[in-house]
């Protein structure tokens, strides 16, 4: 997956980076134009506009009921927008029924036809196009090879494992070489280990076939792993659309910061203290915190400081060069094997999480319950948010 890892790390030259969303010349494959979808009184999608580009692996991420599945079903053609339009390759697809769209979907339940063999399931869509027998057989075999299902071709769906069923569903939806593949919680039914392996497989297949993928998921780790861009949704609206690293490092709202990964949110009032630099008054009798932010805050404006636990350093003594340092005592420790999260209670009762890698064995852990500790972080570690 060099294409995508590159665009995240920026390790290659700029011209090689896959980022059509930054290119004003690029024509999007899918355009949501002020789309609203209502079910009776309930507004599932609220005046939403979004561009998705060719060859993208786009993730729609959000809690259940946020409207992400509705977006997908509108793309597949099972729902039509109440207002606004959806364009596929510049063409308004609202009046096109699902069976006439160059869009295929991989269902959450996989929806494999139980009365057909794996082979026939994959051939199902091709048969509808009256593909010549020889081409059809070749295409099915190709799909079987792609998903490593050759030896299961003659089995029925109930005779194979969950992971294999997932691959059959993928092969079936890819067989017609759609312009756009929709994946509805594709890995939801798999256990964690298998899910991780399958994520990479999905990325591999996406790259090999060059198909545009739109994936719906509520699992933020999954979205971060597979996607070139992630859209965080809530209550029918897009909260943020960006690359996984930007979503994680530069969330635009407390909601996004909180939804993606673990975060400490400190409420306070901002006071400018230089260019892009702010002092935040956050608690009685505590020194103000320093944070830098490219977005402007007026003097005394209420703000939220979002700090990722892994960016907080925990130490026994106050680090001499620390910009931000607060004292507290260890309230709780979550031991995750490779990592430990320390829940440090400050004097005013606020709990701040600090995460460290467990480079030493647990018996030699530096801190334990009730130990007085110092937490420190740099000015750029935290993100200053207005809401």
């Amino acid at each position: 997956m060099p294409l995508f890892s590159d665009c995240r790390t920026g390790a290659v030259l700029n011209s090689d980076v896959f980022a059509p969303w930054d290119d004003p010349q690029a024509k999007p494959l899918i355009q949501f134009q002020n789309v609203t979808k209502r079910f009776g009184e309930f507004t599932a999608i609220d005046n939403l506009s979004l561009d998705i580009f060719e060859r993208e692996f786009f993730a729609l991420l959000g809690p259940s009921g946020c409207g992400k599945t509705t977006m997908m079903r509108m793309l597949a053609g099972f729902e039509t927008p109440t207002e606004g339009h959806i364009l596929l390759g510049g063409q308004d697809i609202d009046p096109i029924p699902p069976n006439k769209r160059a869009v295929n979907m991989m269902f959450q339940s996989y929806a494999l036809f139980p009365h057909l063999s794996v082979w026939e399931n994959i051939a199902f869509g091709l048969r509808r196009d009256n593909m010549p027998k020889h081409d059809l057989e070749e295409r099915v075999e190709e799909m079987l090879r792609l998903t490593r299902l050759e030896q299961f071709a003659r089995r029925k769906p109930h005779q194979i494992s969950g992971g294999q069923r997932q691959r059959v569903a993928l092969a079936r939806s890819l067989a017609k070489a759609p312009k756009l593949l929709l994946l509805d919680e594709p890995l939801g039914a798999l256990d964690k280990k298998l899910r991780q392996d399958t994520q990479f497989e999905l990325m591999d297949i996406q790259e090999k076939t060059g198909t545009t993928f739109v994936i719906v998921t509520h699992d933020q780790e999954e979205a971060m792993t597979v996607a070139s861009r992630v859209a965080v949704m809530d209550q029918g609206q897009l909260m943020q659309v960006s690359t996984p690293d930007r979503i994680y490092e530069n969330p635009v709202s407390v909601y996004v910061a909180d939804f993606i990964g673990d975060v400490n949110i400190i409420e306070g009032r901002a006071a400018p203290s230089g260019e892009d630099s702010y002092q935040i008054d956050w608690a009685e009798g505590q020194a103000p915190l320093t944070a830098s932010s490219p977005t402007g805050f007026s003097n005394g404006q209420s703000c939220h400081l979002a700090i990722r636990p892994e960016k907080v350093t925990i130490s026994a003594e106050r680090p001499s060069d620390a910009v931000n340092a607060v004292q507290g005592k260890v309230h709780d420790i979550a031991y995750l094997g490779n990592l430990s999260t320390y829940y440090v209670e400050l004097a005013n009762g606020i709990i701040i999480k600090a995460q460290t890698a467990n480079t030493r064995r647990i018996s030699r852990r530096s801190f334990t319950w009730e130990d007085p500790v110092w937490l420190s972080w740099t000015a750029t570690a935290a993100v200053l948010l207005a809401n």
């Binding site: 597949a76 699902p98 069976n99 295929n104 979907m105 959450q108 929806a111 009365h115 199902f124 509808r128």
Partner: protein
């Protein structure tokens, strides 16, 4: 010990209510007609000891079965019964499938009510319902009155005492047996399968034909057998709604027994009917078993 008792209960049930009556009927079918009480001979006389038993068995023969092949009434009646059963099963399927489909597609909260409506007729006596059809289908019946009143026809239709009336009666009576298994098959079907079919390029109709029908096949087969098996031996509907032209083996059996008082021939007719029915019953069991395996 407890297990043995538990297992014994169904076997005792089967023995007492199926096998013993079956062997009694089989024995009568091998006997000769006699002017006596009971109206057949021989009867087993245990007081004569071993010789009596030997004498008893030596008198049993297949004469009645030979008779069934000699008089063409019987095989015609069997054939006609099977034909009527097949045709009425087909019509029951034609009427029952859309109803079952509609029920399965109905909103969740409506389904128990619809189910109730299907089962409700069972709360009235079967005989009364068939009599009610006589009132509807007769020349002066409600159906003719309505058709005459609306001006669709000018002379009353003769429906009662024809095979049409028999078909109507059978389809009406056995409809729930067709609907329920099909409904249960359709209801279990995952709705996303239809969406998947459409997504892969099927029209609505193709999706129905290629996915819904194959997946409801076990229900269709079960429903067809549940209707066909009892209809072959049906007696009440043809005798009340059908005329002299409707030949069914159930009616022949009844007449042999009660009009002719020829118990041995009647028993032979019954035994042959049972043998004919065993074929679809075995096929039905196979279908059920296959379905159970497919789900397991």
């Amino acid at each position: 010990m407890r297990r043995a008792v538990l297992i014994a209960i169904p076997y005792v049930w089967l023995l007492a209510l199926f096998l013993v009556p079956f062997f009694i009927v089989l024995k009568i079918s091998l006997s000769d007609i006699a002017l006596a009480i009971p109206p057949y001979s021989p009867t087993l006389d245990l007081s004569a000891g071993w010789a009596g038993i030997k004498e008893f068995f030596s008198q049993l023969d297949l004469e009645n079965y030979v008779w069934l092949t000699e008089d063409d009434l019987y095989w015609k009646a069997y054939l006609s019964s099977v034909k009527i059963a097949l045709i009425s099963t087909f019509f029951t399927l034609l009427v029952g499938y859309p109803i079952a489909y509609g029920m399965a597609r109905a909103p969740q909260e409506w389904r128990p009510t619809l189910m109730m409506l299907i089962i409700l007729p069972f709360w009235t006596s079967f005989l009364i319902r068939v009599y009610a059809w006589m009132g509807i289908l007769s020349n002066e019946g409600y159906l003719n009155q309505i058709l005459l009143w609306t001006g669709i026809i000018s002379t009353p239709l003769t429906i009662l005492n024809t095979s049409t009336a028999v078909y109507i009666g059978i389809v009406y009576t056995y409809l729930p047996f067709m609907i329920l298994p099909i409904y249960s098959a359709l209801e279990r079907m995952d709705g996303s399968l239809i969406e998947a079919a459409e997504d892969l390029g099927c029209s609505r109709f193709q999706a129905f034909w290629l996915v819904t029908i194959p997946l409801s096949k076990p229900g269709i087969i079960a429903g067809c057998f549940l209707v066909m098996i009892p209809v072959i031996g049906e007696f009440v509907i043809p005798s009340l709604l059908g005329g002299s032209g409707t030949l069914m083996i159930g009616k022949v059996l009844w007449e042999e027994f009660f009009s002719n008082r020829d118990w041995p021939v009647a028993s032979a007719v019954a035994i042959v009917l049972l043998l004919i029915l065993i074929i679809p019953i075995v096929l039905f069991q196979r279908n059920q078993q296959k379905q159970a395996e497919a789900e397991g």
